[in-house]
Symmetry: C2
DNA sequence: TCTGGCACTCTGTGTTCCCGAGTGCCAAGT
DNA sequence: ACTTGGCACTCGGGAACACAGAGTGCCAGA
């Protein structure tokens, strides 16, 4: 149905259109790529490609432009991920190495990715639910008020202020902290509810009331924060890429955590790339934009996702290479810290 | 030099131009505002205003448009800050009240402000340097590794991972923590360096090495984080306001923490509004944009700043009202938590 | 000092026209 | 059966042009 030459023509169209941003005609193709055939032949192939929905003409008698389906075929079968240059790898390493805490790792990652791809980068904070507890801290603030601090093995810190039902002496707090830590240390977050279920009963009666209050907040934190935090950078790159569709919609989507979550999507395995092209993505305001995303994590567990968002007319091989490389490096950094 | 009527004309020009976004002519002015004089008279006044640089004509035989100088006069002498409606105040309260930690307070504030003003909102995290220490925590992570957690009275939490020069038993860590807390609790951050200066000497010799390591990281944190964290929201509003100047520059500025810092600027007193109009601001990429900013804090100490950024052609009375109101509410929330 | 009148100057818009790039199709060649 | 050159056709986009409308500056009169 699609012989090799037709595929070569499609590849050439995508490559030319990506680099020039103008509909590409049969003559230009014959000139720039040595396909060994004449423009007329190419025209026939183009007609076939259009017939099947891989390319289209913006107007009669203009060149051809790839459709979403065309890009999809290109990504799946006609291109290979382009690895980063040595210089780029070095840049990633040195740039990420300087980060001192999780906030800074994420911040640097998102900027790095934006700069590398010249597009909008999106990074999700390492998921709370898939990580485990490294330490729980209870800090007395006032008479009946404490702050609960939760530190996970990914370096993420959650804090909540709790109003207690009664005055509690500091040593009782300390005691409680010790108990909590001894039974939660290293506990996967998804296991917390069962782990603490019978905890109050194992405490002296006078502490139970307080323990229940604190535990309920702890559990609440785990649930509420299920919707993860996401940051983006490189919005300025949107202005450069003259967007076909209004960039207002894109900016709006970027500020909606929920939408971003869905865009990053779920993955199969770690460091596996997901590409959503134009109308494939689940949000109508983003026709005309593609998302290249990957999971990252330490070891073999995927902790969160990151990716970039740009016009469908993007350089997929390069973008995919950058996303994959950054995802791997961030995973390493997280594992090492 | 400028009699009352000329000022009234200037005010009318600003108001009309802000609401219509079109150069305003003498006839339209005479119709919409009852100035009690004819268009011809207004024309004379306009000529005078233009002479002095308060307004200008985009082209010969177009209406007049205020200059930066004109807006400045308008803000300083011709307008008064418009208080928010009851409904808006209620919305602020309920929206901010639900926040559980500092991150969420800041996040909600910036979104609220963006929505209220329909412009880009910018909020700086409460300054580390001006707040005081509420608690210091040292959490053992591994053999020779601990995490230092710093909690300030504004609810801000800073964490750093520290590699120790030797193995340290947990009880020695606990001891160190107790000592640190007893001498730093409530200590203003700017006082920390002197407060801990002689601390190692007061410890048993075997702990000194470790203490020095930890303290140096602590001090480093205070210094490094001097450049504050800033977040923004509402970038989508930029796309709506058809910017005269390329919005690429604006987006770039928004992602430069340093530039944002300078834009928010320094203030006189708390809740005092700063307005920077067009060319008054220190960044050349932002010709055509104004910044309305205010300090916020708990009690009488200014902890940080917040504000909005929009086209010079903005509704200053309303914007100023919103910024002032939000700054006050955030201050209250911070004081109460 | 204000007002009405008048001539003048622009910008923006709509119209028309034309060029060129690119196509589809067909008939001839391999 | 596929490829190729030729040819007529179609549109989009830019240039040239005209024109209406809004707005001004200025002047003479109240």
């Amino acid at each position: 149905m699609l012989d090799d030459r037709k595929l070569a023509v499609l590849r050439a169209i995508v490559e030319d259109y990506v680099s020039t941003n103008e509909p590409v005609g049969s003559k230009a193709l014959a000139d720039r790529h040595n396909l060994g055939v004449s423009p007329a032949t190419i025209r026939n192939d183009m007609a076939a490609l259009e017939e099947q929905g891989y390319i289209r003409q913006p107007h009669t008698s203009a060149g051809r432009v790839p459709t979403d389906k065309g890009y999809r075929l290109f990504v799946d079968r006609l291109s290979s991920i382009k690895p980063l240059s040595v210089a780029e790898r070095r840049a990633i390493e040195t740039f990420l190495a300087g980060a001192v805490d999780l906030d800074e790792i994420v911040m640097r990652t998102v900027r790095l990715l934006a700069q590398l791809t010249r597009q909008v980068a999106v990074v999700q904070y390492p998921s709370l639910t898939r990580s485990s507890i490294r330490h729980v801290e209870i800090v007395p603030l006032a008479e009946r008020r404490v702050m609960l601090v939760l530190i996970t093995n990914t370096g993420r810190v959650e804090q909540r202020v709790i109003d207690l039902p009664e005055d509690v002496a500091d040593e009782r707090i300390g005691n409680l902290r010790a108990v909590l830590n001894s039974c939660l240390d290293g506990c996967g977050l998804s296991m917390v509810p069962e782990t603490v279920a019978d905890l109050p009963e194992r405490l002296p009666p006078e502490d139970r009331q307080v323990a229940v209050t604190i535990l309920s907040v702890l559990l609440e934190t785990l649930v509420e924060r299920h919707e993860e935090k996401i940051v983006f950078a490189g919005a300025a790159n949107l202005a450069a890429a003259d967007f076909s569709v209004g960039l207002r919609d894109v900016l709006e989507a970027l500020e909606e955590q929920v939408v971003l979550m869905r865009l990053l999507g779920e993955t199969g395995g770690i460091s596996e790339l997901t590409v959503r092209i134009g109308s494939e993505n689940p949000y109508s305001g983003l026709r005309g934009t593609s998302i290249v995303a990957a999971g990252y994590g330490s070891g073999d567990k995927e902790l969160a996702r990151l990716g970039v968002l740009g016009p469908t007319r993007m350089d997929y091989p390069v973008t995919m290479g950058a996303v994959r490389a950054v995802a791997r490096y961030v995973g390493q950094i997280l594992a090492g810290s």
